[in-house]
Assembly symmetry: C2
C-alpha cells in the first residue's frame, strides 16, 4: 500500500466510508444520487486494465459488494458502474444507484448537474447506513 496517495480532487469531493482489501471506499458528496467511488489503493494506476490480475479479481468482488449494498439500501432500477477518469486520471470506479425519477435519468450523471452536497446530519446518517449494509454482506 506504500506510495498510494488519494488524488486531491477525489478527496475534496467525497467522504471516506471505509477501506477494503483493495479499495478505499468513498461516498461522493452529492445528495442527488447514492454514489460510491472505489479507489484501488495501489500507486500509479490509470486504466482498469492496469490492475494486476489478482487485484482485478478483488476489484470485481468489491464492485459487487458496493453494488449489493446500494441495492439493499436503495432498491435502484439500475446500477451504473464505470471507470472513466477523463477529469481525474487516478483509477477510480464509480458505482451509482440510478432511479427513473433521479435528476438526470436516463443520462449518465457525470458533468450534467453541479453536485448538491449533503447536509451534515444526512451525510453522517448515509455513512452509517452504508457501513451497516457493508457489514451485513
Amino acid at each position: 500500500m506504500t506510495d498510494f496517495t488519494l488524488d486531491p480532487t477525489l478527496a475534496k469531493d467525497t467522504a471516506h466510508v471505509e477501506d477494503w482489501a483493495l479499495c478505499r471506499v468513498l461516498l461522493m458528496n452529492d445528495a442527488q444520487y447514492p454514489w460510491l467511488i472505489l479507489v484501488p489503493a495501489r500507486p500509479n494506476l490509470r486504466d482498469f486494465h492496469d490492475l494486476a490480475p489478482a487485484d482485478m479479481a478483488l476489484a470485481s468482488s468489491e464492485i459487487t459488494c458496493a453494488s449489493r449494498a446500494l441495492q439493499s439500501l436503495f432498491d435502484p432500477v439500475k446500477l451504473n458502474v464505470a471507470a472513466l477518469g477523463n477529469m481525474v486520471p487516478q483509477l477510480h470506479l464509480h458505482v451509482i444507484a440510478r432511479f427513473t425519477d433521479d435528476a438526470t435519468w436516463p443520462k449518465p450523471v457525470w458533468g450534467v448537474r453541479p453536485a448538491e452536497p449533503y447536509e451534515e446530519a444526512a451525510l453522517a446518517s448515509r455513512l452509517g447506513d452504508l457501513r451497516e449494509a457493508f457489514s451485513r454482506l
Copy 2:
C-alpha cells in the same frame, strides 16, 4: 449460451467483430470514437454484479483484451470502461478509446452527440484492424 438474444438496439447500432468465451464483441457504428461493446452472452443479465463469479473473471479478462487492442491500435490518452444500461437494460460493457481532441473530451460520450456512422470501406478496415489486434493478444 442458449436463450441469449442480443438486444435489438445494440444489434442495430453496432457491427459484429467476433465472439469470445463470454462476450459478443461489437463495434459501435460511430466513427467519432474507437468504441467497443462487450455483451456477455448469458440470458437475463442486467447489472455487472449479476455475473456469476467465473463469468466476472472472464469479463475482466475480456475487458483487458479489448482495452489492450484499442491501446495498441490507437494509443488513446484514456480508456473509458463502463456498464451503464440506462437506455438498453441488457448488460453490456463499453470500452472506449478517448483522446484530448475527440468530439466530447473530457465529457463522457453517451448522449452528447449523434453517432456518425462509418463509411462502408472504413468500417470494413476498422473491423479488420480490430480482429488482427485481437489475434496478436
